[in-house]
């Protein structure tokens, strides 16, 4: 058996029973990375030396019986999550040489478990994009078809798990950036409720929408990862004080009696027919297990894209104003302070990041604020109300994760509007601060994975994990060919 295709829980057994050492295990993943990542380009930084040191420390814990669920488990981390002493670039020339002087809270929590860092994964620059093609350093390919995108912005993390370069990874999700690449790469990714996971040390894109979450090979591994990273954090004022349950608790429980809503707007003509068919078939599978399908409507979906982009870009324009070429990051040239800042930002940021800063400042500027930004906030409230109404009728919501399967590299280049519209299935979950999980529910005739999303009430990750797991138990995934 190829151990690099094993789940985290099986790796735990193999490590604890001494079938393999922590160093040998991470060596197996490095073999895959060295053989295949030249083609996939999922990593920006590979931390082999650091990994072996961490594996040795993990082994000492295993040998002494001081074991946590992730002790000795190798993981990949998206390159917008700060790692003390290890480059964190956000896939941007602006932060090409940035070495954080501290760890993000999620990294501290993983360190406490004794995890092993394999490396930092590629992403769309500053998490702005859905293809990982705006990365300044590694334009990641889809392991199922190297001519196609892996999705984004956490495309490096999803591709790394899909290609067996890591058993699991952390990503971040502002408008679908965990779920959509998980869908394109045939893996499972969960965006927790806003506030469930600390954002301290996550380089901010849109602070009211950003959330860190895991990408794994199934819902059960996602639950194990969530158990490790969720908790209140005094360093993040938006971190929730809600009690954190055991996310594995409802796994394996039947979905009999569970009410699953299917809002008609998510099954419109704008959604690819093959995608719709696979998601509808998955709904029938869950129905056959005793779940009840509920028809409903979320009319606000038609305004979701402008509402999302106006809020996200307004926040991004503000968050990215800190990059001035003075304190850290890329420094340009100029004879005056103003010239220096403008040159640093113009040369340090890529085209998509600059477009979003311009849009954000447009929405916030005098004369446009009420018409755009305030209107978007009103829509946010409307979308929350519509979701609340659906959750009066149902326990979870089932939708496609993306309108199409993974598309060819270059298909959306030079067309930002087309790129933005492709986020239609995911952005409302961030707008309403809800948890959502994407898992594979079928493959197209060309062999590309199709993802479905299960959306839950705020802080009810347990039920969406239960539902995704119930489907996964009936479904045989097909891994991509070994690279």
């Amino acid at each position: 058996m190829d151990i690099t295709r094993a789940k985290i829980r099986d790796l735990r057994k193999a490590l604890d029973s001494k079938q393999i050492s922590a160093a040998e295990l991470c060596g197996e993943y490095f073999k895959n990375i060295e053989a295949g990542d030249g083609k996939v380009q999922s990593f920006i930084t590979v931390t082999k030396e650091k990994a072996l040191e961490m594996a040795e420390n993990a082994q000492k814990r295993i040998d002494s019986g001081d074991v946590s669920p992730l002790t000795g488990i190798p993981l990949a981390i998206k390159d917008n999550i700060c790692t003390d002493g290890i480059k964190t670039t956000c896939a941007s020339k602006m932060l090409e040489n940035f070495i954080p002087p501290y760890n993000a809270t999620v990294i501290e929590k993983l360190n406490a478990e004794g995890y092993v860092l394999l490396g930092k994964t590629s992403m769309d620059e500053f998490a702005m994009g859905g293809s990982t093609q705006t990365s300044a350093f590694a334009k990641t390919k889809n392991p199922y078809d190297l001519e196609r995108v892996p999705g984004g912005s956490s495309g490096g993390s999803a591709a790394a798990v899909s290609a067996s370069f890591a058993p699991a990874a952390l990503g971040s999700d502002t408008g679908g950036s965990i779920r959509q690449p998980a869908s394109f790469c045939g893996v499972t990714g969960i965006k927790p409720t806003y506030g469930r996971v600390s954002r301290y040390g996550l380089v901010a894109f849109a602070s009211s929408l950003d959330q860190i979450g895991p990408i794994c090979s199934d819902a059960r591994d996602c639950a194990v990862m969530l158990n490790a990273i969720c908790a209140h954090d005094p360093h993040d004022a938006t971190s929730s004080r809600q009690p954190v349950p055991d996310f594995t608790e409802k796994l394996g429980q039947s979905v009999s009696g569970m009410k699953i809503a299917m809002p008609k707007e998510f099954y419109s003509d704008d959604i690819d027919d093959e995608v719709k068919t696979h998601v509808m078939n998955a709904a029938k599978t869950l129905e056959a297990q005793g779940a009840k399908l509920v028809e409903c409507s979320i009319p606000g979906l038609k305004y979701a894209i402008p509402a999302y982009y106006l809020i996200a870009c307004a926040e991004a324009a503000s968050n990215l104003s800190r990059f001035d070429g003075i304190k850290y990051g890329f420094r340009g040239e100029g004879r005056t302070f103003e010239e220096l800042i403008r040159d640093s930002r113009s040369k340090g940021f890529g085209e998509e990041v600059k477009r979003r800063i311009l849009l954000g400042n447009y929405a916030l500027s005098s004369g446009y604020y009420d018409a755009y930004y305030k209107k978007a906030l009103a829509l946010k409230q409307q979308i929350i109300k519509e979701y609340n109404a659906v959750f009066d009728l149902a326990d979870v919501i089932l939708t496609p994760t993306a309108p199409t399967p993974a598309y060819k590299i270059g298909a959306q280049d030079n067309d930002p509007v087309k790129m933005y519209l492709a986020d239609i299935c995911t952005v409302t979950v961030n707008i309403a601060s809800l948890p959502g999980i994407s898992t594979t529910c079928g493959y197209t005739a060309e062999g590309l994975p199709v993802g479905m999303s299960v959306i839950g009430r705020r802080f009810d990750e347990q039920t969406i994990l239960q539902c995704a797991d119930a489907f996964e138990q009936t479904f045989a995934p097909t891994a991509p060919a070994k690279l």
Partner: protein
């Protein structure tokens, strides 16, 4: 909707960004298309009262105002060009 050159120039000013002539023309076209998409929001007729409606994110209680150990200055400045724990900036005065 076409976006006027002076609007784009104003946004570049606010955003601290430079474009050359060709870049400015390209971004004008792209922003026109993007703003057309954003304009669909105008057909939505709900008003927003930020004194009543902003209930989607509740900030947790802020932590107690107790002094905590901070980062060493040297570490904080490790990504800046620094000398003697100060930023070094380019000379911008004659």
């Amino acid at each position: 909707m076409a976006v006027e050159l002076k609007t784009i120039q104003h946004l570049c000013e606010l955003s601290k960004l430079n474009y050359d002539e060709a870049g400015l023309e390209k971004v004008m076209g792209e922003m026109g298309d993007i703003i057309d998409l954003m304009d669909t929001i105008k057909t939505f007729d709900l008003t927003y009262d930020d004194t009543k409606d902003n209930n989607s994110i509740s900030l947790s209680e802020v932590r107690e105002d107790v002094p905590q150990p901070s980062f060493p200055t040297e570490k904080l400045l490790s990504n800046a060009e620094n000398r003697d724990n100060c930023y070094v900036v380019p000379k911008v005065v004659e």
